[in-house]
């Protein structure tokens, strides 16, 4: 299995994190996303017409979006069925939070690319969009803690939805978005960091073990 990867790319990190949590061995091929924009070059578009990272290759299969990669990995390599649960309720919840992860990419993720790697766009608008999402996520997680729910979905364990949202949230400060006002989000970040098989990326540090 091969991941076309760029270390500082939030969604590549989601893919690496999922692979690590599942204990799947894989190789990486670095794509010079920044500064060379190699993901938009014809050679890369030949394997991913979307011109997007990450891209996962498993045998002859190719998945060129992070949503596709996480869904495939969970279905193919998680015998417990926890990461992409198969009940009606959890399917709906996972799909919903995966959509929110996409919105986080377009807001918090975009603010990060603008501030850090000088991508085009309106950083203020991206931050405003991200803050609106983070407030909702923080409330959802806060009420979850009250109800005894630790994760975005109502399962007793994390799902691919947590992994899809995590990179954009944990890297928000790169885009100028502080997490000071989101205490439940900060606790959720620590819970993700304490999962067995958790892995860091450049800019994300491990946390201490729970007391």
């Amino acid at each position: 299995m091969k991941l076309y990867d760029f270390e500082l790319h939030a969604e590549c990190y989601a893919a690496r994190l999922m692979l690590s949590l599942l204990g799947v061995t894989y190789q990486t091929e670095a794509v010079d996303f920044y500064p060379e924009a190699a993901h938009l070059a014809p050679e890369f578009r030949a394997i991913n017409p979307l011109g997007r990272l990450p891209l996962l290759e498993d045998g002859t299969l190719r998945f060129g979006t992070v949503q596709g990669i996480l869904s495939y990995l969970a279905a193919a390599y998680d015998p417990t069925g926890h990461w992409a649960p198969d009940t009606a309720v959890l399917r709906g919840e996972v799909a919903g939070w995966m959509a929110v992860a996409g919105e986080l990419a377009a807001t918090a993720g975009q603010a990060r690319l603008i501030e850090t790697m000088f991508a085009d766009g309106d950083a203020e608008a991206a931050r405003a969009g991200a803050e609106a999402l983070l407030r909702v996520i923080d409330q959802h997680l806060w009420f979850g803690e009250v109800e005894g729910r630790d994760w975005l979905c109502s399962a007793t364990h994390p799902t691919i939805a947590d992994i899809a949202c995590f990179p954009h949230v944990v890297l928000s400060e790169d885009g100028g978005i502080s997490r000071q006002d989101y205490p439940a989000i900060r606790r959720w970040i620590d819970r993700v960091k304490r999962l067995e098989g958790f892995t860091v990326m450049s800019g994300v540090f491990p946390t201490s073990s729970a007391l």
Partner: protein
């Protein structure tokens, strides 16, 4: 929204990097901010031209970068002879935006104490945490800071290293916002690799950090070299952005240094002696 443009003469009289020639060649032009002023860099005969509000700004093309100055008589740029050594690879590892002052970024570049904790498994690892005694001098003739005899155990000192080693460092700070470090080359032990950080101060608390290297390595690809350096820089970034105050305090009592901070102490003293008042918190302020 732009802050009041910088009026600090120390900053105005220096040359500042604004874009790498690599990036300019690809993009043709670049819009950025220097000392709170919007600037535009365009390709021109001789390399490049810098404009601010459509008026020409003094422009210099050197060391793979376009430099600009708003001063009346900026001194020539510091010497960087390794840049011209034909057998070295010059690799621009990219430019990254960071919410911090230039001074904090340079201090972090000089600091070895954070290696085992921030660059774990690469530039350091526990229990090898000691910063051994090293020498620092402020050279009056060259107007630069030199830190020598710096030694540190590094598990993976460069992209070409395959095992841990005690690595020797020399740091130069020849410009308030630029530093070059020299470290033993894993490929040729008689030579030193040069790694630079040229900081472009966009504002007092916002920078573009231009990094790259002039190294002896004909095996690694540009992408390998870049990935290695970007990983290091990505690890430093959140640490830098969580330092408060974001401006560098020049009062020796403002923060408590330890022996390992000798180069930072010299750096702050050197900046204070220049009378720098922008991007810093001057003593007595």
């Amino acid at each position: 929204m732009m802050a009041q443009p910088c009026t600090d003469t120390v900053m105005l009289e220096h040359w500042h990097p604004v874009v790498s020639l690599d990036e300019l060649r690809g993009a043709g032009r670049c819009r950025t901010v220097l000392l709170d002023r919007p600037v535009e860099i365009v390709r021109a005969a001789g390399g490049a031209r810098v404009l601010c509000d459509s008026a020409p700004v003094q422009t210099l093309v050197q060391y793979g970068y376009v430099w600009a100055s708003f001063g009346t008589a900026p001194a020539p740029l510091f010497p960087f002879p390794e840049f011209d050594e034909a057998d070295r690879r010059f690799v621009v590892t990219g430019v990254f935006g960071v919410q911090v002052s230039a001074g904090r970024a340079i201090e972090n570049f000089l600091d070895m104490g954070h290696f085992p904790y921030v660059h774990t498994g690469i530039l350091g690892e526990e229990p090898h945490t000691e910063v051994k005694e090293y020498d620092v001098e402020i050279s009056q003739s060259r107007d630069e800071i030199l830190a020598t005899r710096c030694r540190f155990y590094q598990p993976k000192a460069a992209v070409s290293s395959d095992e841990g080693a005690d690595v020797e460092y020399i740091y130069r700070v020849p410009h308030p916002n630029c530093s070059v470090l020299y470290k033993s080359s894993p490929v040729d032990e008689t030579r030193l690799d040069a790694i630079y950080i040229f900081v472009q101060p966009m504002g007092q608390e916002k920078i573009r950090a231009h990094t790259g290297m002039c190294i002896i390595d004909d095996a690694s690809t540009d992408l390998d070299i870049r990935s290695f350096q970007q990983t290091i820089f990505g690890q430093d970034k959140p640490i830098l952005e969580n330092q408060y105050p974001r401006r560098l305090p020049l009062d020796p009592r403002a923060e408590t240094p330890i022996r390992a901070d000798k180069s930072a102490i010299a750096y702050r003293r050197w900046l204070a002696a220049k009378g720098l008042g922008w991007g810093v918190i001057p003593a007595g302020a």
